[in-house]
Symmetry: D2
Subunit: 189 residues, 4 copies
């Protein structure tokens, strides 16, 4: 059992990405222990605050650091990563040389009401996470989930069988990918 920090890119109460995150956590029970890491209490990133980081920042960084893998579940805002999520990424990456993301496993999924929705957001996020942040990012399968009312219950139960199978496939690949890298890290330690 490895540890997964789930970071949801929307902070509204009825977020469909929060629901998708819950569905993925539920499908991963038995494989990993998931915890949702909040980003709503973070201040706007300001380098001047780094020296004496606000408590919300310290908490956020320690929660990410306690995980083996990070699962980003995010909508698209204006054809890119939501500012609220990017702000959390920016805090996690600082101060210089003390990035909380470095070397961790990562995967990306996203829900949107429209068909195109999450594709460009994930494209930008991939280049950030799998490149500069040096996370070990899962490639396929991509999850562009077109959310329809009632598709996922508040507790993460998925209504449709085919959807559940597809998302289970994603969770299984994510699990195998993480196990490859955590085994490797254990050997290196």
């Amino acid at each position: 059992m490895f540890k997964v920090a789930i970071v949801v890119g929307s902070i509204r109460k009825e977020s469909m990405n929060l629901k998708l995150g819950k569905a993925l956590a539920k499908l991963g029970q038995g494989n990993f222990q998931a915890s949702f890491v909040g980003i709503a209490d973070l201040p706007l990133f300001n380098q001047d605050l780094e020296g004496s980081a606000p408590a919300a920042v310290t908490k956020f960084k320690s929660e990410i650091e306690a995980a083996d893998a990070v699962l980003f579940v995010t909508p698209e805002y204006n054809r890119s990563v939501p500012g609220v999520l990017k702000n959390a990424i920016d805090w996690g990456s600082r101060p210089y040389g003390k990035s909380s993301w470095d070397g961790k496993v990562a995967a990306i999924a996203g829900a949107s009401p429209g068909a195109v929705g999450a594709a460009v957001s994930q494209n930008h996020l991939r280049s950030i996470v799998g490149g500069f942040l040096n996370m070990k990012l899962l490639g396929q399968p991509e999850v562009y989930f077109q959310f329809k009312e009632g598709a996922i219950a508040d507790d993460g139960t998925i209504a449709d069988d085919n959807t559940r199978k597809f998302l289970q496939g994603f969770v299984d690949r994510f699990t195998a990918w993480t196990e490859t890298h955590t085994a490797q890290n254990a050997k290196a330690a």
Copy 2:
């Protein structure tokens, strides 16, 4: 004389992009009237707050709407747009159908201490601003300003002659581009 809202993508006090913004405003005196639109007081974007938007949001949107053109001056954080700037963009774009950005002229410039610095950030920002947000975005010249200590004084004075000429060229193109579109808008009105 047209009106330019300058949005700086960093909120730290000694921001080199703030200095670059001041330099551009100074070079534009006589062509346009510049005002700096603050983004540091905006809350994190949350759709649940849209119905009764915080005062900082209302102020931000009205300042953008009062301008003919928006000049984004921004660093790169983690090879993309800073979360703090994207958060402001997200607020400005909402509620649905009431985007403050729609149809306005835009241009982008950026400073960074390193050589590569601002290129990828501007790449992502271009696709957001010139695409989905439907702003009339200036293409060339691109401004990737490698900032060295003392290059620009706090009041926007530029130390080096060649730098000043290059930035003046950018300001002149931005002015001509804006005049094309504001003239057109005037005719349409």
Copy 3:
């Protein structure tokens, strides 16, 4: 009546983007004169060939230069711009200082069989065309056309009324955008 060069990003015979291009050309009759600029005969870009450019390159560049505006109609290959289209763009941009794209009006549309298909391709293309190439790129509306068998006949006739209205809206915006800029260019000349 202004002149539009249509560049299709796929060279297969039954390309759905070619059909979309034909539909857009048909909707634009009366507004502009469209010609399809072939890219299938271009060699792979090689800077060593610039000095004595192959005839196909010279022809391509002169056809682009004869147009007031360029309409890119392209699929997505591997979540980016098709190589065959990017190759044409690269030839058109060279030699240094003699780009055929510089200052021209541009717009982008795309068809794909899947829902997500063309979004990321267009995102990359926007940043190329509207940034470095310095084209005057139309923002909205975005056209992500999910192509279904029979949606557009070989002569460009559109089967569905709502589709036709949506695409007519795109063509009208493209026309107005081009007229703004060609009028401006005429004044400057």
Copy 4:
């Protein structure tokens, strides 16, 4: 000793990226066996040709498939991936379900004469390679090599000590990253 296919994104004779590729191959001697996979003889991608693929395509795909890892060494053309390289990527990804890239290890490096040069190209390439193509893409270190006349000899010898150390660091990380994944693949087989 694992096998690396080096794909250079420029086909001109004196390509600085070819030289960089040779330098990396030389630094990797003892760790891996490198071969340069040519892309200059590939036709422009055309889905109509897939059924009876040209010999150059078959050869290209088999050379990629024979390798454990792929090293892309590429310039930036017009702020994106060169068309000539994207064309090779497109061929390698086809026919549907028979991608030669799937599951292989990958890393990216690039040289350019200018300071900003290769950053945006690599950004687009990362999202293609590490996402849709499902390659296991190395994150850090990023290699944005500003090429100066004489920096690397035709046989791959690097003139400057610090440059050699930096590039050796990249090669070592690439080696360790590949070994993690080839070991894993061997266990799975």
